[in-house]
């Protein structure tokens, strides 16, 4: 029912693509990260909470239909519905059913509860398309609560030493996740403009976040003392970041699980915090779908496919896509839209 072509994942019966990477007529978008929600589609379908972010990043004038989780669209006999993916707020898995055959495109997902995102829902299907960003047994993420506690303890320690704490986290998703769990009794919270833009949408559509100030021309840098500053990864190595001196730098990413990555980054602290599934979560998700056919996209594709075939006896196929997974660098930031000048501070 689904095929992979040069534009993306395609359902010919419904005439619709899922997360295409080239301009097409009609696209269902799993979530608003820029490697999945790309510019140039004539019509979009997305979850209600993804729509305002897409308008901010792709243009206010895009043609987009907003849907809820579980709402069924019937397109030329294909029943299409979105289900929570737990990746970031407004992220969805796409379920497609035609003549009794069911496919699920999971986009990016995680099973771990993060405190702000609608939890992942297991959807039964015959064919499952999964990412494999952290598809190796060495990735075993700690619980969100442990990491939030570590972040707050680190902030307190830095503050005691008279330093600011800068956290680099994706502006969409991870930044709100960290922000919502900061202990506001420790000190002030400041936001990079790109984070504040997304936070505004979060607050308008979901709920309040702890009080924080946007860092703009009106803020005197001398007033920022012992504060927590949340900025996107693209702020690394910029004069903007250097103006936050004295500070300690923390990076939130699943890649921080590996010591080599932590050390190469030159950050003061690496927090193992990801919006993707680790090894156990991937395995659980795949098993729970009951699918016999699994298509493995971005990540450790060949390793993870081999594991699914040899360990679970599934038909696993590697698929080449242009999704980038969780990136650590500026240049591979899947939210490159943040680098647009109008969104900078």
């Amino acid at each position: 029912m689904l095929t992979f072509d040069k534009c993306g994942i395609y359902c010919a019966q419904a005439g619709i693509y899922i997360d295409p990477w080239k301009p097409v007529d009609k696209a269902i978008i799993t979530h608003a990260h820029s490697d999945h929600a790309r510019w140039g589609m004539k019509a979009y379908v997305a979850h209600r909470l993804a729509v305002p972010v897409m308008r901010l990043r792709l243009g206010a004038d895009i043609n987009v239909q907003s849907v809820e989780y579980g709402e069924v669209l019937n397109i030329n006999g294909v029943k299409i519905s979105l289900h929570p993916a737990g990746h970031i707020w407004g992220s969805a898995q796409v379920r497609l059913e035609y003549k009794g055959e069911i496919w699920v495109v999971s986009g990016d997902y995680k099973l771990q509860a993060d405190g702000i995102t609608t939890p992942f829902e297991h959807v039964k299907c015959h064919s499952f398309i999964t990412e494999s960003t952290f598809g190796l047994p060495v990735y075993k993420f700690p619980t969100s609560e442990e990491v939030y506690a570590d972040i707050n303890a680190w902030w307190q320690k830095n503050r005691d030493e008279g330093k600011n704490s800068v956290i680099l986290a994706y502006a969409l998703g991870k930044a709100q996740r960290v922000h919502a769990h900061l202990n506001t009794t420790i000190g002030d919270i400041y936001l990079h403009g790109a984070v504040d833009n997304i936070n505004k949408i979060y607050e308008e559509n979901i709920g309040a976040l702890p009080i924080a100030k946007r860092i703009d021309a009106s803020v005197n840098r001398k007033d920022i003392k012992g504060a927590m500053i949340i900025a996107p990864p693209s702020a690394a190595d910029t004069p903007w970041l250097r103006s936050m001196q004295p500070y300690k730098l923390g990076i939130c990413s699943g890649w921080m699980q590996l010591r080599g990555t932590r050390r190469r980054r030159g950050a003061d602290r690496g927090f193992v915090l990801s919006d993707h599934a680790d090894w156990e979560q991937l395995n659980t998700a795949v098993r729970e779908t009951g699918a016999q056919n699994v298509y493995v996209t971005h990540g450790y594709k060949s390793i993870y496919s081999r594991w699914l075939e040899t360990n679970y006896g599934l038909n696993a196929t590697e698929v080449d896509t242009l999704y980038t997974g969780e990136a650590l660098d500026d240049t591979t930031d899947s939210e490159t839209a943040e680098n647009k000048p109008d969104e900078s501070i």
Binding site: L136, Q257, G266, I303, D330
Partner: protein
């Protein structure tokens, strides 16, 4: 073990030297004295003899984790560290225990006399009762290579702070051969001069690379300028009628350098000379690799002795008549050295010691010209040493600089690519390059560092689109892209198809301006080899 693991974590989580020193001082303040000396031993690269084989670790961790061996191998390829890989795949413990560091080390040492069953029982039991961090540190104790981002300088400073003893004394006491077993730090550090191990070298003073224009160093007249030789930095020690030759890596190499044997009867007792050990033939220095083959061998052959007799090019004297003279100025030490070597040379014309010649210049422009001629002398560049400088410990800025020549370079064609490690595991970052030999491309070098992140991504995307074949983690690509590679040296190598081997190859830049036919040829490499050999 928990305390030591915590120390490890604290050190690992900071890039600040001061915080690392503080963490170490805090550990020393509370640690058991046997744990403390083992900690210092491990941090300065003295680890117990390994008693567990890598294959055993693979097998046992496979059993405990329930993972197939191919998946463990893939994981290791991406993590890049065996100890860490195992610590990540062992199921988390719900029954953690603590043991003193020295007890664990002693147990590991004792395993050498036990059979596989006992070794397995001990290791797997420990694996099931450690937290993640202790598990990693424990595995590091087994596999060795304990570096943990602590330089000798940090260890010395922390010990000086904890014991309130002068850094230079600590540095000297920590050098050379000593045992952690049945020893304590106070014993090691308090040993009087008479009780000292007479083989002990001084910690080497190392130069920083010069990154600013030399004009910023002030007047040329304040500097001693010498050539930077490409040999083995070493200290020749004669004390109590005994000879010791140490390399900078703190290896005792006396046996390998039999040319120096006669110095026992020539150098006065209580002499320590610092210099560069080099092969020489007919008054000319030979390239580094000529000596390298010889060091790798167990016994020095007659042939090697004839082909590449060694000398030391001497540039410093740090102990004279039994007295540590590191506090004298470079100029004063040089005068002592010149006096000693001139006298000895008159009595022993075949002396395997040569005075490092001074490069005489009056302006920095002249110095730059001399630097440009380095390769004519089979040298890597120049050394600039402030005449007033003391002989310090470790790598320090300010008084000693090395000013190397730009690396050699060649344009190669990208032929194979392999996935990187860690965060680059999704990217093809390890490349094999080839040069033309007629119509054929012959691989000649592997390199992975040097490209900017943006270029890496571009090249990665290109590789994925232009793959001809996949074998394991390696892809072969359509020969199209040309890169300029830099390297420090070139030597003949019958093991490689190209017939040469490069020293420290790295990517200098992506030559997007060059077509594949414009890459260099094997003949160009041979020409470089011959030029470099002369």
């Amino acid at each position: 073990m928990k305390a030591f693991s915590q120390l490890f974590t604290n050190i690992d989580q900071t890039t600040s030297t001061n915080e690392k020193i503080d963490a170490l001082v805090t550990y020393l303040d509370t640690a058991d004295e046997q744990d403390a000396i083992w900690c210092v031993a491990l941090l300065s690269g003295r680890r117990p003899k390994r008693t567990i084989k890598t294959s055993e670790l693979w097998e046992w961790s496979g059993e405990l984790s329930g993972l197939p061996s191919w998946l463990l191998a893939e994981s290791y390829h991406i993590v890049g560290d065996l100890a860490e890989t195992i610590s990540l795949v062992i199921p988390p413990s719900n029954d953690e225990r603590d043991h003193p560091l020295h007890e664990i080390i002693n147990a590991l040492i004792a395993l050498k006399d036990s059979d596989e069953q006992q070794r397995k029982a001990y290791i797997t039991d420990m694996w099931q009762h450690f937290g993640r961090q202790e598990l990693f540190v424990f595995n590091k104790l087994i596999t060795g290579g304990f570096r943990m981002g602590v330089s000798d300088k940090i260890v010395i400073k922390a010990l000086a702070k904890h014991y309130k003893v002068d850094e230079n004394i600590i540095a000297h006491r920590l050098t050379g051969n000593w045992e952690a077993h049945n020893n304590t730090l106070p014993k090691l550090l308090a040993a009087g001069d008479s009780g000292d191990d007479i083989s002990k070298p001084y910690p080497f003073y190392l130069a920083y690379p010069l990154e600013t224009p030399p004009q910023e160093l002030g007047s040329v007249g304040d500097w001693i300028i010498e050539r930077k030789y490409d040999g083995i930095r070493g200290q020749i020690i004669v004390r109590n009628q005994q000879l010791f030759v140490w390399s900078r890596g703190e290896d005792l190499l006396t046996e390998k350098f039999i040319e120096f044997e006669g110095l026992i009867n020539i150098l006065p007792n209580g002499t320590v000379i610092d210099g560069e050990i080099l092969p020489v033939k007919d008054g000319k220095f030979l390239p580094f690799h000529v000596m390298q083959t010889r060091i790798g061998r167990k016994n020095v052959t007659k042939k090697a002795l004839q082909e590449a007799p060694l000398v030391m090019v001497c540039y410093d004297i740090i102990e004279h008549n039994g007295t540590d003279i590191r506090h004298l100025s470079m100029q004063e030490r040089r005068t002592v050295l010149e006096g000693l070597l001139t006298t000895l040379k008159e009595q022993h014309p075949e002396l395997p010691l040569q005075l490092s010649p001074l490069v005489q210049c009056t302006t920095w422009d002249e110095v730059a010209e001399e630097r440009a001629r380095s390769r004519e002398y089979v040298c890597e560049g120049l050394m600039l040493k402030r005449k007033s400088s003391e002989y310090k410990t470790g790598r320090r800025r300010g008084d000693w600089w090395k000013w190397k020549v730009d690396p050699l370079s060649i344009d190669g064609v990208l032929l194979y690519a392999q996935r990187g490690h860690g965060r680059r595991a999704n990217l093809y970052t390890d490349f094999t390059f080839a040069v033309w030999d007629g119509d054929e491309l012959v691989p000649f070098a592997k390199a992975y560092s040097g490209l900017r992140d943006k270029e890496l991504l571009e090249v990665d995307a290109w590789i994925k689109k232009n793959t001809i074949d996949k074998f394991g983690p390696v892809r072969s690509v359509t020969p199209t892209l040309v890169f300029e590679l830099g390297f420090e040296g070139i030597s003949p190598s019958p093991r490689h198809k190209s017939g040469i081997a490069l020293r420290f190859p790295r990517i200098l830049r992506w030559r997007q301006d060059k077509g594949v036919k414009e890459a260099n040829t094997k003949a160009d490499l041979i020409e470089l080899l011959n030029a470099y050999r002369e």
